[in-house]
């Protein structure tokens, strides 16, 4: 239990320390044509910042995100297509770097799960409706008391 807490504390320390006093190397500017700039701007929001996780590379100012942005910029400049650039990042960081995960056996549940849930809900709903109809048909109305009915109508 204590070692577990210590490990957690250490992990917390490790993760908070990520942005401290790193060396930033001056890198040469990569000039892009306006068409390439547009492609870059389209690509970056689809890529996840791995340090801040819920931010995209377009938004993030984390050092790693800046490095990756520079990397992607270089790839765009060298004429790589968007799928090639995404593959380059997936090869290193895994599918998690993409905000839209690919459709493959590991993600079938993720992509098809909601449709499955809707179908399940429809099936339950239909069963309920059919059940209550059958119950209504099965139970005949009680015999009418003619005298009481006449009394009611006369009032």
């Amino acid at each position: 239990m204590r070692s577990w807490a210590a490990a957690l504390l250490a992990l917390g320390l490790a993760l908070t320390a990520v942005s401290e006093a790193q060396v930033t190397v001056e890198k040469p500017e990569i000039p892009l044509s306006s068409e390439q700039e547009a492609r870059l701007a389209e690509l970056l929001p689809d890529l996840r910042c791995l340090v801040c996780q819920n931010e995209s590379l377009a938004e993030s100012r984390a050092p790693l995100a800046l490095d990756l942005k520079y990397e992607v910029r270089g790839l765009v400049a060298s004429g790589k297509s968007a799928p090639e650039i995404k593959q380059y990042l997936v090869d290193r960081y895994g599918d998690f770097v993409l905000f839209r995960p690919p459709f493959d056996p590991r993600t079938w549940l993720l992509w098809l799960g909601p449709i499955g849930l809707v179908l399940l809900a429809l099936w339950v709903l239909l069963r309920q409706i059919r059940g209550s109809r059958r119950a209504a048909a099965a139970a005949p109305l009680p015999p009418v008391d003619d005298a009481a009915l006449k009394k009611l109508l006369d009032e």
């Binding site: 070692s3 490990a7 250490a10 992990l11 320390l13 490790a14 993760l15 908070t16 320390a17 990520v18 401290e20 006093a21 790193q22 060396v23 930033t24 190397v25 890198k27 791995l50 340090v51 996780q53 050092p63 790693l64 490095d67 990756l68 990397e71 997936v90 090869d91 290193r92 960081y93 895994g94 599918d95 998690f96 339950v124």
Partner: protein
Amino acid sequence: MRYAIPLVVLAVLIGFFAVGLNRDPRLLPSPLIGKAAPAFDLPVLAAPAAADTAVAAPQRLGNAAFAGKPYLVNFFASWCAGCQVEHPYLMTLARQGVVTLVGVDYKDAQADVSQWLAARGNPYAPILVDLDGRAGIDFGVYGVPETFLVGADGRVLHKHVGPLTPEAFEHDFKPLLGAGS
């Protein structure tokens, strides 16, 4: 019986949450496991005498220099608190000499890391310098310290994120030391 379906749904949900909420969202599976280690060719840190001088110190070292024997690649930095946490254990590992320990000094100033090592000791056989973080990107590093086990055949066998602990080494690394040869 009329509650069977809601109960099953609830049980499934509880199952999902029990698994999902106990996972650390910061631990990402590495796509490198089982693949050849990324190619690197990095300058060697001019540092206080290395613990293991078996590897002669040319100016740069790449994958080929370590081929044929399993080795650990430990990304660290003097500015990283988690590296401070794991450092005593790395010293122990170095003393035991079970595996070659290759340090990669990640985005760090030479003066800082030299001082850091002088104060704490140097567990690394060679220390390579990844000043701009390019090698880090190739290894998919997203937060130091990260430790990779590369097998004798040059494939990545395991990755550990966060400070390396004796438990993690004994449980996850040690059984793999013989593999990949």
